[in-house]
């Protein structure tokens, strides 16, 4: 039968590969994957868009769906983790968080709407750097992580706070350093079955495969961290 997955856009490649792998062993299952921003996916689901599995890039939208009562809560669990890094030109000398003060400009996701931006804001605030960066007008806000990365990759900014998984996609930019995990909440990707999907064998089969070692390995390949 059909399995409908709504997944955050940052999982595009990993999920595509997992699906392809799963299809080899389960050719009768049709996997329909819908990639968009986590918030857009959540609103679609609330509006009645057909979906069996929802994977969000942050817990905020998962919580929203739970409040709306469309989630089979007992199936909700963390699929993978991610971490925040600073990506920039390979020649840049930045090795620690405080070095950003020396950089020309820094791109982050808009903290209001982009989770990665929010985490970056939290980390920089914790390190007492955020205010200064803002005063010096060095922060460039992007609509999503990919855009922040694009700026760093094209050299429009000296560095961008992005997820590790995104940074691995860059052509020119390299990961300069990882942001210490104690400065910001862990980046989690919660997954869940939606109400009405429980009990469908094909859905549960694929959901389980996501958490299987074979599945998890693919996520690792794309830079995600495992929920040990």
């Amino acid at each position: 039968g059909e399995v409908r997955i709504s997944a955050a856009a940052s999982l595009t490649d990993a999920i595509k590969e997992v699906s392809a792998l799963y299809k080899q062993s389960h050719p009768q299952v049709e996997l329909l994957v819908n990639f968009a921003a986590s918030g857009a996916l959540a609103k679609q689901i609330v509006a009645g868009a057909p979906a069996d599995i929802y994977i969000s890039a942050n817990p905020k939208w998962m919580k929203y769906l739970q409040e709306q009562g469309v989630v089979a809560e007992e199936t909700t669990k963390t699929l993978v983790y991610n971490s925040l890094v600073l990506a920039g030109s390979p020649n840049a000398k930045a090795t620690a968080l405080k070095d950003v003060l020396q950089m020309r400009s820094i791109a982050i996701g808009s903290p209001k709407s982009v989770p990665a931006g929010k985490y970056a804001e939290q980390a920089l605030t914790a390190a007492n750097l955020y205010q200064q960066l803002q005063q010096e007008k060095k922060l460039i806000l992007a609509k999503d992580v990919r855009q922040a990365l694009l700026y760093a990759d094209r050299g429009e900014v000296a560095g961008a706070f992005v997820y590790r998984t995104d940074a691995m996609l860059a052509k020119q930019a390299k990961i300069l350093f990882e942001v210490p995990q104690d400065l910001y909440p862990q980046v989690t990707y919660p997954a869940t079955l939606l109400k009405g999907a429980e009990g469908k064998t094909d859905v549960e089969g694929f959901y389980a495969f996501l958490f299987s070692p074979e599945g998890q390995q693919i996520f690792v390949k794309y830079g995600f961290l495992l929920a040990n």
Partner: protein, 231 residues
Amino acid sequence: MLNLSPTDVQAIWLSAKVATTATLITLPLGFAIAWVLAFSRIRWKPLLDGLINLPLVLPPVVIGYMLLLLLGRQGPLGELFKTLGIQIIFTWKGAVIACSVIGLPLMVRSIRLGMEQIDLQLIHASRTLGAGFFDTLFSLVLPLSIPSLVTGGTLCFARSLGEFGATIILAGNIPGLTQTIPLAIYDYTNTPGGESGALSLCLVSIVISYLVLIANDVIMRRSVYGLRKVS
């Protein structure tokens, strides 16, 4: 040079289908609305005019959300469609609706610009010859509006080919099912080394729209009834 995966090819067909359907839907609708705006004397004309323009003024994503609310499970139209057994969200029909709504203001404004140049005496003549209101509309105003319908159709088709924001919300981004060219391009830009795929799809878009432009010019040349007589 073209580097198209099977889902890309599906996206191309889907985009062509969606843009064509959206154009075919908005043509009669745009014609009717333009007619009201150009000729009728109803009082709430400015209101209608403003309403039609909304999808142009608001960001496409917002239009997408509005449509989602309207057509969703709890939306007034959503319930209607559900009782009819029609599924809109996450189907290509959703993409058609999104593109139609976004393309409508362009359609209406073009048709209206043309319609406002039709000689009122021709309409008078038609009425005195026994043609009723709707009869005149279809047998006279419609054929004389062909040049502006073509312009409107071209604009709407082209805009539909490029529409992203409203489509992704209403139809979703499901490869092979609702993924149109712009959504596929979006996916490529989220993939390492996706540039060549994105570029190929852009080229296909350009070629399709170019064909439409040529058709536009051909129809245009045939249907401007002696408006421009070269000395």
